[in-house]
Every structure is written in structure tokens, then in C-alpha cells.
């Protein structure tokens, strides 16, 4: 296999470098607090209520961020091999388990940060069969405790959920599901207070929730502008960090200010008629997690074919997934955010309804969907979404690859597949 992984992506916004620099500094600060100062901290999944930890000033290491960090250091293949050597099947889910693999490899000399120390707690929502096993084993390996959260069934299925999520969230996300999540979050707060001695500050939490609305409002504005602009002013390689890095710090003064700065720079580029590519002929949509080990993939067909990836989920998701009118109930509003973050991205009708709407909004010519072979959750909903997109007149290519496992990623082959698909569908 001729792997040409980790090709660099091209960046054009000043704020992108600022975001990555901030995150690098934050990483160093987080490492100091967690590794050197041995502050109580938590390992959490991306779809858990980070806001509670922020309000209690408890540092968190997000599993997906940690996985991307390990993957970017080209260590994923080595750690997955180590896990296989310990008797785990080779086809086990890769996306959620890289952090566990790093811990099990137990090689402080080579591991980022020398490996994660013992956390106060690990938190995950049970959105698949795999995650409770991974986090249970991880907690055991780290001598810690696993606090699972339910992913309750969602029987009120509104395909247009994204139109109502901001103000009608009690109906959209179901009162009984919200109540369960609130109860679980109170249990989690009690656990954190008992284990860390830190107190949950209601006023700070309320302010944080308001600030998150402001922050995600800027991102939403920028996403709307990008969807309408021709050419696309900002590549997804820049959309991702300018959305995700502030989102890891959501509600902080820096995050709000950065989101505003990003929006302003996007609008400036649009006003100046500048495009992320000078050769935009085809607008592509990427469905799936980012291919962290080869970010240059997304810009690889711009010059030759004028095919520009203008959409990935991270940025446009900010509006419907995060913004909530608090209605005097910030905890319930947070519960509605947490209760369905994964479901709306991986289950019909929510996933397909939103993706078709977004493809129409952004003038998408073709879609590429990532179909990880060993991960039911990440595969889930993709075929029905592809069908819905095709029925809406948007050609779809599904590629078998994994977002963190570089072993089964071949840059040249993947780029060739996309090029062939565009040609076969008469787009080039």
C-alpha cells in the first residue's frame, strides 16, 4: 500500500493559526495541570456535558481530541498493534479506543504526555455497544471510575429537528429524555463534588450557557455565510479547527472572542470575493469524522479538478446542536444538547433530514461519505442518508476507511477514488 499520509492542508485565515496556537498552549497548560500538578481531571467523550466540568473548573481530556492528538503523532498503528498483542481482536472499534490502546501499551517513554495519569472519573454516553466496554476497561486500567450516561430511545422523530432545536427543544428532544439526562447530570455533579471537593457554581454555569449561545451564534452566522458564498471562502480544513478548538473551550472568553474573529474574517473574505480555492468548479460535502491523519486529502483535488470540499459537519452543526434558548432552565437546555448529539449525526431520520437540507443550502454538487469498516456507530445512517441525497439529486460516494487508523488509509488511492467517482457521475 502506498500510503502518503499526513500531507499538510493549506491555511489562509490568520485566526486559524491563532486557534491552533491557543490549543497548543492549552495542551501544555492542561498537561501541567493534569500530569505535573496532578489536579483532579476527567476523561470524557465529546458528546458528554463538558459544561459541568467547565463550571466546576475541572480539567477534561476529551477522548476524541486525545485520539486525534495521538493519531497526529503517527502513533495510532503502533498502539493498535499493541492492543492486538494483548489479545483484543484486530477489528475492534478504532475511533473510541485509541486512548485505551495508548494506556494499555504502557510505554511512558513514547506516549504523549508520558501517558495519561489516573483521572477522577471517565464519562461516556452509551451510544453504541462498544463504548461502555472501552471506557470500563480504560477505567480499570487507570484505576479509576467509569460514569456511564444513558442514550435514551427517541420516539418523537422530527426530520426537521434542526429548524426547531433552538427554541422548541423541549418538544424536539422529548421531556422524558431531558428529565433523565438532568437526573444523571445531577448524579455526576454529586460525584464530582465528592471526589474533588470543588463545588458546582449555578451562576457560573448559567453564564457559561449564555456565552455558549453567543459563541455558537457567531459560528452559525459564519456557516450560513459560507453556504451562500461563491466561491467558498474557507476550506473545511480551516472550518474544523476554528469551530472545534473554541468548542473544546466553549463559553470561555477566548472561545467567544475567537468565534467572533473567525466570523469576521470569513465575512471579510466573502466581501473581497476571495475563495479558499482559486479554481472552485465543484462543491463537495464530506460526511463523517475528519481524517486526522491526512488533512491534505481535502485539498488534493482542488487544483486538478476544481473539486473543493466546502462542507463538513463540525461547523454547520454548531447552530442546531448547541444553540438553545435557555428559557430559565439552563440544566434542561444542556440536557437537550447532550441527549441527542450523537443520534442526530448517526440515525435516521435526523441525520438524513439534516444532511439533505444542508446539501441544498450549500449548493453541494457531490458528497463523499466515510464508512469505517469496523465501527457500527460511525457507519450508522450512512446508507439511508446516501439514498436520500441521491433522491435529492446529489451524487454520493461512500469510501471504506477509518478516521484514526492510518493503516487502512492510502492517500493516493482515496484521491483517485474521488476523482473517478466525479468523472463517472459526469461532473468533471
Amino acid at each position: 500500500m502506498s500510503v502518503t499520509a499526513n500531507q499538510r492542508s493549506r491555511k489562509t485565515l490568520a485566526c486559524t493559526a491563532e486557534a491552533t496556537a491557543y490549543q497548543k498552549a492549552f495542551g501544555a497548560e492542561l498537561r501541567r495541570r493534569v500530569v505535573e500538578d496532578r489536579e483532579p481531571y476527567a476523561i470524557v467523550q465529546a458528546d458528554t456535558p463538558h459544561e459541568l466540568f467547565h463550571a466546576m473548573d475541572i480539567p477534561i481530556v476529551t477522548n476524541q481530541w486525545w485520539s486525534a492528538y495521538i493519531s497526529a503523532k503517527q502513533l495510532s498503528a503502533e498502539y493498535f498493534d499493541a492492543m492486538t498483542a494483548k489479545g483484543f481482536p484486530e477489528n475492534s472499534c478504532k475511533y473510541c479506543s485509541l486512548g485505551l490502546a495508548c494506556t494499555l501499551a504502557n510505554d511512558p517513554e513514547r506516549a504523549p504526555w508520558g501517558g495519561l495519569p489516573q483521572p477522577t472519573v471517565l464519562v461516556a454516553r452509551l451510544t453504541c455497544d462498544c463504548i461502555q466496554q472501552v471506557f470500563g476497561l480504560w477505567a480499570e486500567a487507570l484505576g479509576s471510575e467509569f460514569f456511564p450516561m444513558e442514550a435514551p430511545a427517541w420516539t418523537d422523530k422530527d426530520p426537521d429537528w434542526f429548524l426547531h432545536a433552538r427554541d422548541d427543544w423541549r418538544r424536539v428532544y422529548q421531556p422524558d429524555r431531558i428529565a433523565l439526562m438532568v437526573r444523571e447530570m445531577h448524579d455526576l455533579i454529586a460525584l464530582l463534588e465528592n471526589r474533588t471537593g470543588r463545588k458546582f457554581d449555578e451562576a457560573k454555569f448559567h453564564h457559561l450557557m449564555e456565552q455558549i449561545n453567543v459563541q455558537e451564534g457567531y459560528i452559525w452566522e459564519a456557516a450560513q455565510a459560507i453556504g451562500n458564498a461563491r466561491p467558498c471562502p474557507v476550506s473545511i480544513a480551516e472550518q474544523m479547527p476554528n469551530t472545534m478548538i473554541p468548542q473544546w473551550h466553549r463559553g470561555s472568553d477566548w472561545a467567544v472572542a475567537h468565534a467572533k474573529k473567525f466570523r469576521d474574517q470569513v465575512l471579510e473574505k466573502i466581501a473581497a470575493g476571495e475563495g479558499a480555492s482559486t479554481n472552485e468548479k465543484l462543491r463537495l460535502m464530506w460526511i463523517g469524522a475528519g481524517v486526522w491523519h491526512d488533512p491534505g486529502f481535502y485539498q488534493s483535488l482542488e487544483e486538478k479538478l476544481g473539486a473543493v470540499f466546502v462542507w463538513s459537519m463540525y461547523m454547520p452543526f454548531a447552530g442546531p446542536a448547541y444553540i438553545r434558548e435557555l428559557q430559565g432552565s439552563p440544566m434542561e437546555a444542556l440536557a437537550s444538547r447532550v441527549a441527542s448529539m450523537n443520534e442526530t449525526l448517526h440515525l435516521p431520520p435526523w441525520m438524513s433530514g439534516w444532511m439533505v437540507s444542508e446539501a441544498e443550502r450549500c449548493g453541494i454538487d457531490a458528497v463523499v461519505i466515510l464508512l469505517p469498516p469496523d465501527n457500527r456507530l460511525s457507519q450508522s445512517g450512512n446508507k439511508l442518508t446516501a439514498l436520500a441525497l441521491e433522491q435529492a439529486g446529489v451524487p454520493v460516494l461512500m469510501i471504506d476507511a477509518d478516521m484514526v487508523d492510518a493503516k487502512i488509509w492510502d492517500h493516493d488511492k482515496m484521491v483517485g477514488m474521488v476523482a473517478d467517482f466525479l468523472e463517472q457521475r459526469g461532473l468533471t
Binding site: K86, G87, F88, P89, E90, N91, S92, C93, L126, C128, D129, C130, Q132, Q133, V134, G136, L137, P148, M149, E150, P152, A153, T155, K157, P159, D176, L180, R183, E184, D187, L347, P348, P349, S352, L371, P373, D374, N375, R376, L377, Q379, S380, N382, K383, L384, L387, A388
Partner: protein, 292 residues
């Protein structure tokens, strides 16, 4: 009638409503061209057979099919069937889901109890009828026949689609001990508390406490040791399919448990659901070398 398509479901409610059709019937060998258009590769293989059967109107005689959140494929399939019906691509019975919450916390027990009450209410089953169903079901639990005498071989791991692996074990003179998928779904579990004053909660507690299944929080190595002891197994076949996403994480601990138990064991992982990969022959070879 209502068929079930998943584990840990509240059999008492369906029995009280006199609408229990048992596990949904499917042909594991059937070709599934329609299902392959809609369902991704990592779903448990039974999902493809069920969706294909649904598309071919095999279940049109049912009023509903009850799925379970205690299993990932089952709960996802609920959403898929709902969506395919919404788009007009499928007809047939109404899909229902029982929101079984397995986390060992009071909030999850209460959530499961709410799910039982919701189903009972939908089916017009009151507390009195539910209580009577608990008593009747407990009697059925008590009347389970004892295992046959002889050398026993525990078949653990993924519940197979039928008795094809059981037959391979029996052919070598061993009594196979282990459930097929349909038997697993139909299993009544441990007795439910009678005369508790809240039959829905009593049923929910039983569902919540059940230790089998992909969302169980029970220690898998301890469970395996207990299963070996319970049937006095002379041999163990631990068989898991390629699509398995939960139990596979426990393989190292289970190997240690098997070593500690000192029982001859054959571990087959990432295997074909239909055993077209020679699993039966491997079982035959393994058991033929075990001296009683």
C-alpha cells in the same frame, strides 16, 4: 400479535395482553439484496434477514415488532424500520422500542420501569393483569427442564442463528449448553418479585439486572466462570462473529478465566455467522481430542 426482536424485553406485558408472538422469525440463509441497500455492514447479521423479510411482507400478519435498547443492532434497526416506513419503502407491522436502560443506577431502573408502564398502557394491561402474568411466568421459569446427563460442552459468546453449532457438539457425544439467538431473546431470566405492589417496577428490576447481552455491566469473566460451573462443563467453545462489537472487548479476561478454570477450550473469534468458515469441523476436531 407482537413479535420481539431483541434481548431483555418484558415478556410479562406481552403475555398479559395475550399478544406475545415470540421472537421474530427469519431465515438466516436468505439472500438480502434489499436490506443491503439500507443497512451497513457492521450490523448483526440477523438484521439483514429481518429487514429483507419485512420488505417481502413476511411480517404483515403481525400488529407490531418490539425492539430493545439493550442491544445496539436492535435499537438501531428500530429507527431504520421507522424511517423506511416513513419513506414508503417498507410497509408491514409497526415498530416499537422498549427503552431498556442498563446502567447500574436508580435512574436507569426507573427509566426501564417507565418503559414497561408505557408498553403496558399501550396494550391496555393493568397492574392486576401484570401481576398475574408475573406469577404465571415465574411458574414457567420454575418448570425449565434440567440439563441432560452426560459430558457437557458450554457454547458461549455470540448466540448462533440456529442449532448448527449445537449439532456439531452433540455429534461428538457432548451435551451442548448454550442458547440460540431466538432462545436468548425468549429467555425469561430470573424470577420476578411477586406481590411487590408495583409490578411494572418489579419487571423492570428483573430486566435491568439481567447479566447477559451486550449492554450488561456484569463482569464477563465472572459470568463465564459461573456458566462453566453451572453446567459442570467438560469443554468450552467460545464462538464470536465478525460483527460482534461488545463482547470482543472481554476476550483477554475471558481467556484468563478459561485458563483458571482448567477446562479445555476452543476460542473462535471473528467468525462467520452462518459457520461457512469451517467452525463445525473445528469444533469436531477439538472435542474429538478430549478424553472424558
Amino acid at each position: 400479535m407482537i413479535a420481539i426482536a431483541g434481548p431483555d424485553l418484558p415478556h410479562e406485558v406481552l403475555l398479559a395482553a395475550a399478544c406475545h408472538a415470540g421472537p421474530i422469525a427469519f431465515d438466516p440463509e436468505r439472500e438480502t439484496p434489499q436490506a443491503l441497500q439500507w443497512v451497513e455492514s457492521k450490523f448483526a447479521p440477523w438484521a439483514f434477514a429481518v429487514v429483507e423479510g419485512w420488505a417481502e411482507h413476511a411480517y404483515d400478519g403481525l400488529e407490531a415488532v418490539l425492539f430493545s435498547r439493550a442491544d445496539d443492532t436492535s435499537q438501531r434497526l428500530y429507527y431504520y424500520i421507522c424511517e423506511l416506513q416513513r419513506r414508503g419503502l417498507l410497509a408491514g407491522p409497526e415498530p416499537l422500542i422498549c427503552d431498556i436502560a442498563k446502567i447500574p443506577r436508580a435512574s436507569s431502573v426507573d427509566r426501564t420501569a417507565d418503559a414497561v408502564r408505557k408498553l403496558a398502557q399501550r396494550l391496555g394491561v393493568g397492574d392486576e393483569a401484570l401481576e398475574a402474568a408475573i406469577v404465571a411466568t415465574n411458574q414457567r421459569r420454575d418448570s425449565v427442564p434440567a440439563l441432560a446427563d452426560g459430558k457437557r460442552c458450554l457454547l458461549a459468546g455470540t448466540p448462533p442463528p440456529d442449532d448448527r453449532l449445537h449439532r456439531a457438539i452433540a455429534a461428538q457425544g457432548f451435551v451442548p449448553v448454550g442458547r440460540t439467538l431466538a432462545e436468548d431473546w425468549a429467555d425469561l431470566g430470573e424470577p420476578v418479585a411477586e406481590a411487590s405492589g408495583d409490578p411494572a417496577l418489579a419487571i423492570a428490576r428483573g430486566m435491568h439486572a439481567r447479566q447477559s447481552g451486550s449492554r450488561s455491566f456484569a463482569d464477563p469473566a465472572t459470568r463465564l466462570r459461573a456458566a462453566i460451573d453451572a453446567c459442570s462443563a467438560s469443554a468450552v467453545v467460545l464462538w464470536r462473529i465478525e460483527e460482534e462489537e461488545a463482547q470482543c472487548w472481554h476476550l483477554p479476561a475471558e481467556r484468563r478465566a478459561l485458563d483458571e478454570a482448567g477446562v479445555p477450550a476452543l476460542v473462535l473469534t471473528r467468525r462467520d455467522w452462518l459457520a461457512r468458515d469451517g467452525a463445525a469441523a473445528e469444533i469436531t476436531a477439538f472435542l474429538s481430542e478430549i478424553t472424558p
